[in-house]
């Protein structure tokens, strides 16, 4: 069904090869320049990074136009040769990667422009832009990769730079902890990914996607490998049960959060599943797993977002929830819909995060109860934020509506009824928590002491908001029935698209409106008493504590690990250290003994020489056999 992933055309016309390479190499070059000169350049580092990523973006447009014209291209060379193992390294340009190139470079460019304002005055700004550049480049390589070995390398690159960026303010203990958590939790998923790749190599004898997708693997085996690869996606895309790192990753600078959530990091997992889709199709059970995990994630995250009070955390849980939607879409067979949602989500989520960044920049707090009444004071920010919120809530004609509706439609038509209804319920929750946030932050009376001198952010921050706001408004159109499902046709290279179902569409509009209305009742007006939801309610407690996932992991994983580590530590301290210290003690004692012969008297030394001479003479007697 997905013709786009049919064996690639590998004829490369030279100019498109150069374009493809440059898109990747420009951010890498920016990284190298900034690593060396970043300290000296200071604030001017941003010029290098932004011009590099802007050039990449323009070249990506050329690449997309090339692909729209029916072109496909693959560059590859043998990376190393070890015995029978000849992994290649390459760049692949097809509709899927072309779409992602646009998303990654565009969002990265806007985020970097926004960062100029947000990070103004930070003393390690050069390093910040260097990391952003390489983060983008790593993600571009994930997108480009035509074989799993290369994907894995780029995947780890994304992990490393996300670690560096989340922990960018490592002076703050919570930031370094969050970076560590992000790195280690995703590592759990990567372990599954690695095992899957090893298994795949054993079974297929290659990691080249093109060859693997042309094979006919047995269904159970393919399903096992696909699920293992999906483990990697679960880690990176923060799916249940490895979603715990993403909300903590809010400790990073807000532009980094925007980048992670919109384009570079979490999208990698969804993209990986999409890229490996033929493999999942060989073992259909794996798609069911993807759909179920996605659905659980979507619901859990949306429900947690209901009670979060940190503006970035609300958005973080909404990301987890939307990623669940994407996985759900992929899992129920709505491949194009899943990718479409990734596409639209990238824009409106980047918008929401940058908007949140703008708000935080203004009020110096992340707690939503310190905000309120910001609407009149920050017109651009609040207007664009509301556009993003409407897109997230799935209100037509905003972009999120079209893509989310497609996913629900896919679930409905493929007969996954339970998943469909959970999806609808989650849509209701989504609309509710989004507008809870908007009503609390931008409407009502000002709270908190900073509010009086709140002002709109500088143009360097507001212009990206306007651009993203426009995109959030219109990006959905490319996949809407009005444009003949252009996006889906482009991605799948097939004209068999799902036709709009009025029941599904009507239902999703209804729940979105209901959710917003409920939020307005609760937070926009004083019609409902504030005590309508008791703080002692067990469900409320469960949500506030995020289903106790962190606590569960603490008691199931961390505590036993600590206990084991303690025993190992005592072994290390007593036996290993003892041995080492013993050697040192013996050396010290021997040394202080030998020191006694260093009297400083020349005559002593002369006598030692004489003794040495005698020994030598006797020894030479022995050698010569005199005696």
């Amino acid at each position: 069904m997905v013709d786009a992933l049919a064996p690639f055309v590998t004829t490369v016309t030279p100019w498109i090869g150069h374009v493809m390479s440059l898109i990747l190499l420009l951010p890498v070059a920016s990284f190298l320049i900034l690593v060396v000169f970043g300290k000296k350049m200071g604030e001017r580092s941003s010029y290098v990074a932004i011009s590099a990523v802007a050039a990449s973006f323009l070249l990506s447009i050329i690449a997309v136009l090339f692909v729209m014209g029916g072109g496909r291209a693959e560059l590859s060379f043998t990376w190393l040769s070890v015995g029978d193992f000849h992994p290649t390294f390459g760049l692949l340009l097809d509709p899927l990667s072309a779409m992602m190139l646009i998303v990654v470079t565009l969002v990265s460019m806007l985020v970097q422009i926004f960062s100029v304002g947000y990070m103004h005055g930070d003393k390690r700004i050069g390093w910040f832009f260097a990391c952003l550049s390489m983060f983008t480049a790593s993600m571009l390589l994930v997108v480009y990769s035509p074989n799993f070995a290369e994907t894995y390398i780029a995947w780890e690159g994304v992990g490393v730079f996300s670690y560096l960026l989340i922990g960018f303010w490592f002076e703050k203990r919570s930031a370094s902890q969050a970076a560590k958590k992000a790195f280690m939790v995703t590592r759990v998923g990567d372990l599954g990914f690695a095992i899957g790749l090893i298994l795949l190599y054993v079974v297929a004898g290659t990691l080249d996607m093109n060859k693997i997708f042309g094979m006919d693997l047995q269904a159970p085996l393919a399903a096992l490998i696909a699920i293992l690869i999906f483990c990697g996606a679960v880690g990176k895309s923060a799916q249940f049960p490895l979603h715990v790192w993403l909300p903590d990753a809010m400790e990073g600078p807000t532009p980094v959060s925007a980048l992670i959530h919109a384009a570079t990091m979490v999208a990698a997992g969804v993209y990986l599943v999409a890229r490996s889709y033929p493999l999942f199709e060989m073992g259909p059970v794996s798609l069911e797993v993807v759909a179920i995990i996605g659905t659980i994630t979507a619901f859990i995250a949306a429900s947690i977002a209901l009670t979060a009070t940190d503006i970035k955390r609300v958005l973080a849980y909404s990301t987890v929830s939307q990623l669940g939607y994407m996985m759900m879409g992929l899992g129920v067979g709505a491949f194009a819909a899943g990718m479409f949602h990734l596409f639209t989500h990238a824009f409106f989520k980047a918008l929401l995060f940058l908007g949140a960044g703008s708000v935080i920049h203004a009020v110096h707090s992340q707690e939503i109860h310190d905000m309120g009444g910001l609407g009149p004071r920050m017109k651009i920010t609040s207007l664009t934020f509301i556009i993003g919120g409407l897109a997230l809530a799935g209100v037509p004609p905003f972009s999120g509506f079209w893509s989310k509706d497609e996913i629900l439609l896919g679930a409905y038509t493929s007969g996954h009824t339970a998943i469909f209804w959970v999806g609808i319920l989650t849509a209701l929750l989504t609309a509710f928590y989004t507008f809870r946030l908007i009503f609390i932050v931008f409407f009502g009376k000002p709270r908190g002491h900073h509010v009086d001198h709140v002002h709109e952010s500088p143009p360097v921050m507001s212009v990206p908001l306007i651009i993203l706001g426009t995109l959030a408004l219109v990006a959905g159109m490319v996949g809407s029935p009005y444009l003949g499902h252009f996006f889906q046709v482009f991605i799948t290279n097939s004209h068999e698209v799902e036709h709009a179902n009025m029941f599904v569409m009507g239902l999703s509009i209804a729940v979105a409106i209901t959710g917003i209305f409920a939020a307005w009742l609760k937070y926009g007006t004083r019609l409902l008493p504030s005590g309508v939801i008791s703080k002692d309610n067990p469900i409320y407690k469960l949500l506030v504590n995020k289903y106790y996932f962190d606590e569960l992991y603490y008691y199931v994983l961390i505590k036993p690990t600590h206990a084991i580590a303690k025993y190992v530590l005592s072994f290390d301290q007593k036996i290993i250290d003892g041995a080492v210290n013993g050697v040192a003690w013996v050396s010290t004692k021997v040394g202080s003994g030998l020191r006694q012969i260093q009297t400083g008297y020349v005559q002593n030394y002369a006598l030692y020489m004489l003794a040495g001479l005698i020994v030598l003479i006797i020894w030479s007697f022995k050698i010569l056999g005199v005696y």
């Binding site: 020191r595 260093q598 009297t599 400083g600 008297y601 020349v602 005559q603 002369a606 006598l607 004489l610």
Partner: protein
Amino acid sequence: MSLESIPLSYYLILSAILFGIGLAGVLLRKNAVTILLSVEIMLNAANLNLVAFSRYITPAAASGQIFALFVMAIAAAEVAVGLALVLTIYRNVKSVNLDEFNLFKW
């Protein structure tokens, strides 16, 4: 003339004894000048050795004598420099007793 009556080994053993005496002096005396005297004893003992070899093994070539003369020249130089050093030390610390110098001590 004396080849039959006095074997070479007599000379060699005598020079070894003299060398030993000089060596003991170097190792046991405290006065730097005495130590220089003892070094001269050792040098002369070695010279005796060289000349004896020259006489008994290569009587026609005289190369051992040349060696002995070289040793004398170097001994003269050594005494000159050695005494200069002793004088300088004496001027600085008013002593030439080597057992008072242990600056190299740990």
